[in-house]
């Protein structure tokens, strides 16, 4: 069961994870983007962590607040994508105070769809979608989430980007992991850890 406190814990863990990997995220983005992904995510999750001390009535209310915060703090491409994912998840969670694996997966799937819709993107374009979409398609309760996520992140390395800034590099975008896929795996791993 994912409780409100569990979700808060997941977001705190995500913040720590982002902070630890800030330079890696930035370096990956420097290689095939504009070198700000770590900075953007760190600014966003910093802001998220500061809204976690407030009380929330439901997973929906918390998710909505997180989505609005990310939307207004991250900027760049990642901001509206992560932001709208959480806003969409909020709709699925609704008034629920806790979510079982099935509800959580459904909410995340809605989030993933919202990323694809907002980003006009699909699987195979070397973006965060390459983590969200296949992960949620295959994941079962009790799986080794971290391992699955790591593999999906790793798979982006060999892809050629056709969305986002990395697409400017064409063939040269091959050989570097997509930064957004790494930040996505940090976030998803932190959330999945709390549902078991």
């Amino acid at each position: 069961m994912l409780t409100i406190d569990g979700m808060k814990q997941a977001l705190r863990d995500a913040q720590v994870g982002i902070e630890e990997q800030k330079d890696t995220l930035t370096d990956l983005d420097r290689a095939i983007g504009d070198g700000d992904h770590g900075i953007n995510m760190s600014r966003g999750f910093d802001a998220v962590s500061s809204i976690l001390d407030e009380e929330y009535d439901s997973l929906g209310a918390l998710s909505k607040k997180v989505g609005m915060t990310l939307m207004s703090k991250v900027g760049g491409a990642a901001g509206p994508l992560y932001g709208s994912a959480f806003v969409k998840m909020a709709t699925t969670f609704g008034e629920a105070k806790e979510a079982d694996f099935t509800l959580l997966k459904e909410a995340l799937q809605e989030g993933s769809n919202s990323i694809k819709a907002r980003g006009k993107s699909e699987v195979g374009q070397k973006t965060m979608v390459d983590v969200w979409d296949p992960f949620l398609e295959h994941v079962q309760q009790g799986d080794d989430y971290q391992k699955q996520l790591d593999e999906l992140v790793q798979k982006t390395e060999d892809m050629v980007a056709t969305k986002g800034r990395a697409s400017y590099f064409g063939e040269n975008s091959r050989g570097t992991v997509d930064p957004g896929s790494l930040s996505s795996s940090i976030l998803l791993a932190a959330i999945m850890k709390e549902v078991d």
């Binding site: 983007g33 504009d34 070198g35 969305k163």
Partner: protein
């Protein structure tokens, strides 16, 4: 990496404060956000024009705020698209009751954030439309092209159309006409450095340069040995000439921020010589820093085929500090 700044996270707000303090006759600031608007506020009845994006491209975009050009510029973090709530503030500040046009450079982040802001503004009852500029021929796939220095021509021409009292539909139409015809391409011999991370956008050794760079410190599409600017100009023009036919054009030689003006004029000298030899008539010429990438040392060339309408809008008065006419 050496930066003449204070606390990096305060860079954009200190810059915005500096701009407004230095030019109170031109600029106002929307309270508490990094949005610069016209000192005299939105002009009632006029279509409002809003642009913006990440900071680090100065004078873009705040330098184009002023009578005859933009009504508001939204200043995101360095090289990071501003967020929808910020853009919404810009829209509100520019709204004179007759609709607002957003001029957006073609980056996933910018497009998404400006679109989200437009949705929010529509919810607030403001009529909003947008035009996307994608002038960078370095990217072969047209849909993916970046918006670069050509955006300034869209600002100027759409700005003059709006100032002349055109409707939102009409201003959008002329903006799209410019956006669909303008073409640019850039290069750099030295990268820029990100203020927060302190890292260069790319690493180049003494004998290399990047062709087809973006304006966010991104590497170019091709790395080559350095050469005389004469040959570099040939290289960039060979791409541009494929998409702009000989005829009357406006040309811009735009500095990337760290390029001495002397080099820009030497560059222009070669650009003019070669274009004229190829049958182009340089009807309007612009040389200087218009759309930069922090301290990057390089330049871009922009060509806009001109007709009567665009020419007269280019020549119309402008109080914007970055494009005084």
């Amino acid at each position: 990496m050496k930066k003449l700044i204070g606390e990096p996270s305060e860079l954009v707000s200190q810059m915005v404060e500096g701009m407004v303090h230095a030019h109170p006759e031109v600029y106002g600031r929307v309270d508490g956000v990094n949005v610069i608007c016209r000192a005299d506020g939105a002009k009632s009845g006029k279509v409002g024009l809003v642009s913006g994006g990440g900071s680090g491209h100065e004078p873009a975009h705040a330098g184009y705020v002023g009578d005859g050009m933009l009504d508001a510029a939204v200043c995101g973090e360095v090289f990071t698209s501003p967020t929808p709530d910020m853009v919404l503030e810009g829209i509100k500040a520019a709204d004179g009751g007759n609709g607002v046009l957003l001029i957006v450079k073609n980056y996933s982040g910018d497009v998404m954030n400006f679109e989200l802001a437009a949705e929010l503004a529509e919810g607030d009852g403001i009529k909003v439309d947008h035009v996307v500029v994608a002038d960078d021929v370095a990217i072969s796939n047209k849909e993916d092209r970046r918006g670069v220095a050509g955006t300034v021509f869209v600002h100027k021409i759409a700005g003059a159309a709006a100032a002349s009292g055109k409707s939102l539909e009409e201003v959008k139409a002329i903006a799209e006409k410019v956006a669909s015809h303008v073409r640019s391409m850039g290069m750099a011999v030295e990268p820029c450095y990100m203020p927060v991370s302190g890292k260069p956008g790319f690493d180049l050794n003494e004998e290399e340069m990047e062709i087809g760079i973006g304006i966010h410190g991104e590497r170019g599409v091709e790395r080559k040995p350095t050469s005389d600017v004469d040959q570099i100009v040939d290289d960039l023009l060979s791409h541009l000439k494929k998409e702009v036919d000989p005829g009357e054009v406006a040309v811009m030689v735009n500095g990337m921020g760290g390029t001495p003006l002397s080099e820009l004029y030497v560059t222009y000298h070669f650009v003019a010589e070669k274009l004229e030899a190829a049958g182009y008539t340089l009807k309007r010429k612009y040389v200087g820093n218009y759309m930069t990438s922090l301290e990057m040392h390089g330049f871009s060339i922009t060509l806009l085929p001109l007709d009567e309408e665009m020419t007269s809008y280019l020549d119309a008065p402008s109080a914007a500090l970055g494009f005084k006419n």
